[in-house]
Symmetry: C2
Subunit: 137 residues, 2 copies
């Protein structure tokens, strides 16, 4: 494997580990996954963006006290220098969430810097159909 292959493998493993910690309520692993400073962000579906360690980790403490049965699919990574974006979809019951996970290389490991999730209300099959309601954008 080339260096970039190794980084991509590590990136997708870090993304998978995020969802393992999420699904199993593994608080210690979840905390360890995030960048170890205050420059972290999180936008949960339907919510305003949380800024900084206190707000972001507190939200995960709440979520992991009753973790949902989240499954992840279609993870795709994009590496630019010491940062990377993974996009994927989360299946939570009947709902599907489009997720953006931004990682940063820190101490030789990919750590999460920002998680943004938003529920998908329009199925792919609907994309070519006229929408009943005008989309926001």
């Amino acid at each position: 494997m080339t260096g970039s292959d190794i980084h991509m493998t590590g990136l997708l493993e870090a993304n998978a580990e995020f969802y393992r910690a999420f699904r199993t309520g593994d608080l210690e692993a979840m905390v360890a996954l995030w960048v170890a400073d205050d420059d972290i962000l999180c936008t949960h579906p339907g919510h305003a963006t949380l800024h900084g360690r206190n707000e972001v980790l507190e939200s995960w403490f709440d979520i992991l006290s009753s973790p949902p049965p989240v499954r992840v699919r279609d993870a795709q990574g994009l590496i630019v220098g010491v940062t990377a974006i993974v996009t994927c979809e989360e299946e939570i019951g009947d709902a599907v969430v489009a997720a953006t996970n931004v990682f940063r290389m820190q101490d030789g490991e990919w750590r999460m810097m920002h998680h943004h999730g938003s529920q998908i209300f329009t199925s792919r099959e609907d994309e070519d159909e006229p929408e009943e309601e005008a989309p926001l954008h």
Copy 2:
């Protein structure tokens, strides 16, 4: 100003320019704002993530044919090497969208690599109230 101040100023200007192009339907400016290769992504509110130049720019051609009166507030930047995240809120009529805009330095300018928007359904005042419906996460 220090070098990082200059970069932050340029970053927030690029973010403001994105919303100017968005609001005024300036297609040429919008295309020029994005990274000039195929590694671009976009997640519109309620939709699945779009990958690559064709999908992403086509979605903006549609949107800018009838641009919404979008106003931006609370833009905050975070620079890590040659990439950066700007989070902000978009006001579109009565709706508010939480936006994540990921930029990449290319040819000496901050260009957009990923835009992820999701409508905020829970107001800040509601955050301490018990929710009627369980949140997705």
